[in-house]
């Protein structure tokens, strides 16, 4: 089938709503944050929905308590608030407690990167990959389109333990037009290249595909990988793919050099002894208060399409053929 673009959250919430009528163990919690599909959940399943108010610490604690009573919990809020406002609760009563008690809590954070474009740095989220991947027992899932977001529903239901889903707040073009990616390896190879491969997550996959297509017409044949499972990807399969390249480029809509995707790949490549150079593309510098479109903001901080293209051209020259 061909998918029409949807918001990632609505695609995932639709699957949850459909499942809630059959699976009475699903509970939905939120911190005063909505969506059109959430209205259906609120109306149809009032006994298994609760809005805790603007209180993310309590959102996590209530969700943990519900999970200990056997519910599969989906907790929903804006990405920086559901990660950083309540990080201690996440650490203690999800990451730590799930070490000894079976519990299934799925944190749905909306607003990855700059996706709340005009709301400024409080609502934008450039630190979550770093923070959430630091927690043992947590899965960190980062879809690039709504098809992948919806596909993660099965992961949420079938795999116990705490998870964080970082969803974009905007409706993005569909990447997986015919069928969702195979989730088992944690990544999807979109293109195979000659000497260089781009490894992107979330929104930056769109930039990576665009840049790779444009550079292809200039004679650069660059591979592109969508890394959507940032904690449990298959290391051996990723090694098999990456070891064919002399250059790897990480692309993330998060701070560069602060423990995100770039650090993860650096460590991966070092530990595995791969002989590949790396280029890291991520948000440069610190916080920004300037207003602009997402495209303009991305160019300002070094992750826009032109900036990425230029950086990759320069990097390509440094690689052995």
């Amino acid at each position: 089938m061909i998918f029409k673009p949807l918001a990632m959250r609505d695609a995932l919430l639709e699957k949850i709503w459909q499942a809630m009528s059959k699976d009475t163990k699903i509970f939905f919690t939120c911190a005063d944050f909505g969506s059109p599909v959430l209205d259906k959940i609120r109306a149809d399943f009032p006994d298994r929905f609760v809005n805790v108010g603007i209180a993310e610490q309590n959102l996590i604690n209530i969700s943990a308590g519900l999970a200990l009573e056997g519910y599969t919990v989906f907790a929903y809020a804006i990405a920086p608030f559901i990660t950083m406002r309540c990080y201690e609760q996440i650490r203690v009563s999800l990451a730590l407690l799930s070490e000894v008690r079976q519990m299934n809590v799925n944190l749905i954070g909306v607003g990855a990167g700059y996706s709340y474009v005009v709301s400024g740095p409080t609502h934008q989220c450039y630190e979550d990959i770093t923070l959430m991947r630091a927690l043992p027992n947590f899965q960190v899932l980062s879809p690039a389109d709504h098809v992948t977001s919806a596909a993660f529903f099965d992961t949420c239901i079938n795999q116990s333990g705490p998870k964080y889903l970082r969803l974009d707040a905007q409706i993005l073009p569909v990447i997986y037009e015919l069928e969702p990616p195979n989730l088992s390896s944690g990544f999807h190879v979109h293109k195979r290249g000659e000497t260089m491969c781009l490894v992107a997550t979330g929104y930056m996959l769109h930039t990576a595909l665009k840049v790779a297509a444009e550079l292809s017409s200039d004679g650069f044949h660059i591979g592109v990988i969508d890394l959507f499972d940032l904690a449990r990807f298959s290391a051996s399969e990723l090694q098999n793919v990456l070891q064919a390249y002399s250059g790897v480029v990480s692309l993330e809509e998060g701070f560069r050099g602060r423990g995100g995707l770039d650090s993860m790949l650096f460590e991966f490549i070092a530990r595995r002894g791969l002989k590949t150079k790396m280029l890291n593309i991520g948000v440069e510098g610190a916080y920004h208060f300037e207003l602009g479109t997402r495209t303009e903001l991305h160019e300002k901080v070094g992750i826009g399409h032109h900036a990425v293209k230029e950086a990759i051209r320069k990097f390509a020259i440094t690689l052995p053929n």
């Binding site: 519900l66 999970a67 200990l68």
Partner: protein, 267 residues
């Protein structure tokens, strides 16, 4: 043993544990003894030592993690684990640490970090209601940890959702690590504050084990659509000269000879 004798035995055992493992927090474990004895021996909690997470149990969340070393002899005596384990607190390979963790049979949640038990317990109480269970949740918290704001998020939530299966027992010893709570950030009249937040609230002299038992039964039997709190007025470091109600009792370790003399005198 009657409840008073049991409380005395737990007091001696707790001193003994601290004598062997001075890393444990003694003073805050002495203020909560009668609360736990009433809960666990006084017919308040439904428990199953053979299956600590029996679905039919009442849930007891021990939020004041550090101050619950007195639970070790209680849980061992009730059969959650062998009494022999009490000799190995804080030793390599033991599951009984300086701060209890949920690897200990009978402990439900992680409480080394303060201010988490009430929120998680509230989620459990909410879940029990929603799945139609008549089991109860008891949360034992220190008054010091009520400084953590997340407690008050849970307190508001519990009232909103009429969680009359939720019981908060505050071990009000009036002292946190660096002094008297009234000198740090006062809770004022805590009972009135909780009442204003929509809770039913009772107070008790927290070292009168029979009174604590009686009031816990009274609280548990009420289902008036409000969460319930019991403020137990207690003494930190109770019964240990130099420790009892001392402002720095949390971090004072009594001398081994003092503990030995107390164990000899009161055994």
């Amino acid at each position: 043993m009657n409840l008073k004798e049991k409380a005395h035995w737990v007091w001696l055992e707790t001193l003994g544990i601290h004598r062997r493992a001075p890393e444990t927090r003694l003073a805050s474990s002495l203020s909560s003894i009668e609360i736990f004895v009433a809960l666990y021996y006084g017919g308040v909690l439904r428990i199953n030592p053979n299956n600590p997470r029996d679905e039919n149990r009442d849930r007891c969340i021990i939020s004041k993690g550090h101050g619950s070393i007195c639970m070790y002899p209680i849980l061992a005596d009730l059969g959650f684990f062998p009494l022999e384990e009490l000799k190995h607190v804080c030793e390599s390979g033991s599951f009984l640490g300086g701060i209890p963790d949920p690897v200990i049979p009978g402990y439900e949640t992680v409480n080394g970090s303060l201010g988490h038990g009430l929120g998680v317990g509230t989620g459990m109480a909410f879940g029990l209601k929603r799945k139609g269970s008549d089991r109860s949740v008891f949360v034992v918290a220190g008054d010091g940890e009520l400084h953590e704001g997340a407690n008050w998020e849970a307190i508001m939530f519990a009232a909103q959702h009429k969680l009359d299966n939720l019981h908060l027992i505050v071990d009000q010893n009036n002292i946190s690590m660096l002094g008297y709570t009234d000198d740090i950030v006062s809770h004022g009249d805590l009972s009135s504050r909780l009442s204003a937040f929509g809770w039913d609230c009772l107070e008790v002299q927290g070292h009168d084990v029979l009174a604590v038992q009686s009031v816990l039964h009274q609280l548990k039997s009420v289902s008036g659509g409000k969460p319930k709190a019991l403020i137990a007025r207690t003494l930190k470091g109770r019964g240990v000269p130099g420790l009892e109600n001392a402002s720095l009792s949390h971090i004072i370790n009594p001398k081994p000879e003092l503990i030995d003399s107390l164990l000899e005198k009161f055994k």
